[in-house]
């Protein structure tokens, strides 16, 4: 049913640290790698080795330049995937009931055998989190690696989304954002995590952590690295001057 649940037991989601992300795209690759061979239809590519390669991805990394009022511009890498919104507009527009939000953990999923590929859910999503697979004609989206996080065949440390598991910078965190004592909730509270496009009223579960202020604190080691002697004195000074005259 495409009615949204009034309450979900958990609000599983991601917290993405824009301060730490180095824009390496490892999460993009690991996401594609896991999801092309697991849940649902593979993530196809079109013209992969040709002039205009394109393909289905559930996670993409944009890079932005932000110019503060004063000071230097900052480059910020910005990974973007489904935010598993509480008020997910993609679910209610679905005509077939293929799109749904799970009551137990709040994950938004697509039942691909019911999807007619009309694309209306992709239109309804403000964030561009859904992509219609051009080979299968069904809508693909982040599943929060639902086939990893509960998978008892995997070692415990692997029971988290592939993007989180692979991030070499530790910029991605996974947990229950409905539990205010969870690590991710504390992180959001302490770092001032925010929603994307709150004016759209989607109430995203995923949160983003802002980049920390840059170039404000002077490095405490910097004074210790001052040059000790600018000009040589004594015998060395005499030698220096004499050699320069030659």
């Amino acid at each position: 049913m495409t009615n949204l649940p009034t309450h979900t037991d958990k609000k599983l989601g991601l917290v993405i640290d824009l301060d730490t992300c180095v824009g390496c795209h490892a999460c993009v690759v690991s996401c594609k790698g896991w999801n092309t061979e697991n849940y649902g239809a593979p993530l196809s590519d079109q013209n992969a080795y040709g002039k205009d390669p394109s393909g289905t991805f559930l996670n993409r990394v944009h890079s932005y330049e932000v110019q503060p009022e004063t000071g230097a511009a900052q480059t910020i890498h910005f990974p973007k995937s489904c935010l598993h919104c509480e008020d997910a507009p993609c679910v209610t527009v679905c005509p077939t009931g293929a799109s749904y939000k799970r009551v137990e953990d709040g994950i938004v999923l697509v039942n691909e055998s019911d999807c007619i590929g009309c694309g209306l859910c992709a239109w309804a999503c403000p964030y561009g989190a859904r992509e219609l697979d051009q080979a299968e004609g069904v809508m693909k989206k982040c599943t929060l690696c639902v086939d990893r996080i509960y998978n008892e065949n995997l070692p415990e440390e692997d029971r988290q989304p592939a993007c989180v598991r692979t991030c070499p910078a530790g910029a991605r965190h996974f947990g229950d954002l409905g539990d205010e004592n969870s690590d991710v909730s504390i992180l959001v509270k302490e770092r001032g995590g925010f929603d994307l496009m709150p004016e759209q009223g989607t109430k995203p579960v995923n949160k983003y952590l802002p980049p920390r202020p840059k170039d404000e604190q002077i490095d405490i080691l910097a004074p210790l690295l001052e040059p000790i002697a600018a000009e040589p004195t004594g015998f060395l000074g005499w030698l220096d001057k004499t050699l320069e005259k030659l």
């Binding site: 289905t56 944009h62 330049e65 910005f78 005509p95 403000p126 496009m197």
Partner: protein, 292 residues
């Protein structure tokens, strides 16, 4: 938004078909026998042809029947259910008129009301989309209804109603453009709110996440042809409203003239409907440093 021909044909022609059926349901014109058959055949060809055209953009059209199940929340599903209900009711009504020379007035009235609701349903598929601020406004259903009813009046030969409709359609279309042009800015969504980086400063895209266009950009960040929008609006409006209105008002009525006027009107409707999609900006464009 990508102006897919299948969707343009669907909205224009199914609108015309249901508009025509609405007038036939009200007994305008009060025809019977073979004449009635021709009228209903044209109306059904337009309505059903439009609906079939809409399935051409589906990834898996073989499962289209499932789309009738989610009428509780989905306008696309509601539109499908309403369309089928309308076609059944009007079918029974048409059988009475064509084969038994009996017009069941109440059934026709019900059918006409369902026709209006179906067109409203079609328009709500777009109106409900908050991510496209231009569409998410009361002008969208009014424009769709005025197109369907004016076209329906035209095709059923209701000259007076058509003339009034052509003026209404022109005014509503201009209103929709004037209001629509300001809707994206009024929505408050910017690249700064999309990325949440506005608290630091002015944001611009530094590097795209992929080197060539993907589904999102092809489907929702359509910018081709927008530079001709102004000219196309004028051409569309002249063909849609002004020219057919002038032909009906200032020339002695003849069937040839009516055919020319209808063809101009439909060509105008296809042009402005192309613009309805091509000019619509989706918030996802913000992530690519482009307004949809």
């Amino acid at each position: 938004m990508h102006p897919a021909p299948s969707i343009i044909f669907f909205t224009v022609f199914s609108g015309l078909g249901f508009g025509m059926l609405a007038f036939l349901g009200l007994g305008k014109p009060d025809v019977s026998g073979f004449t009635a058959f021709v009228f209903f055949a044209i109306a059904y060809a337009l309505a059903v042809g439009g609906l079939i055209s809409s399935t051409f953009h589906l990834g898996n059209p073989q499962r289209a029947l499932k789309a009738f199940s989610q009428w509780r929340t989905s306008w696309l599903s509601r539109e499908g259910c309403l369309a089928v209900a309308t076609l059944i009711v009007m079918g029974l009504y048409a059988i009475g008129i064509i084969f038994f020379n009996t017009r069941i007035g109440m059934l026709g009235l019900l059918g006409a009301a369902l026709c209006v609701l179906t067109v409203l349903g079609t328009s709500m598929i777009y109106t409900q989309i908050k991510t496209v601020p231009r569409w998410h406004h009361w002008t969208t259903p009014l424009v769709f209804l005025s197109y369907a009813l004016t076209g329906g009046a035209f095709l059923t030969g209701q000259v007076q109603i058509t003339a009034a409709g052509l003026v209404t359609i022109g005014i509503l279309q201009i209103l929709a453009w004037v209001i629509g042009d300001k809707r994206f800015a009024a929505s408050g969504s910017t690249i700064e709110t999309a990325t949440g980086l506005g608290t630091i400063g002015k944001t611009r895209m530094f590097e795209a996440p992929h080197s060539s266009k993907n589904y999102l950009m092809k489907e929702m960040v359509h910018v081709i042809g927008r530079k001709h929008a102004r000219n196309l609006r004028i051409i569309g409006l002249v063909l849609l409203s002004l020219l057919p209105w002038a032909l009906l008002m200032f020339f002695p009525f003849s069937h040839m003239l009516a055919v020319v006027a209808i063809l101009a009107h439909v060509a105008g409707a296809l042009t402005t409907r192309w613009l309805f999609f091509a000019e619509a900006e989706h918030t996802v464009g913000l992530y690519y440093g482009q307004r949809g």
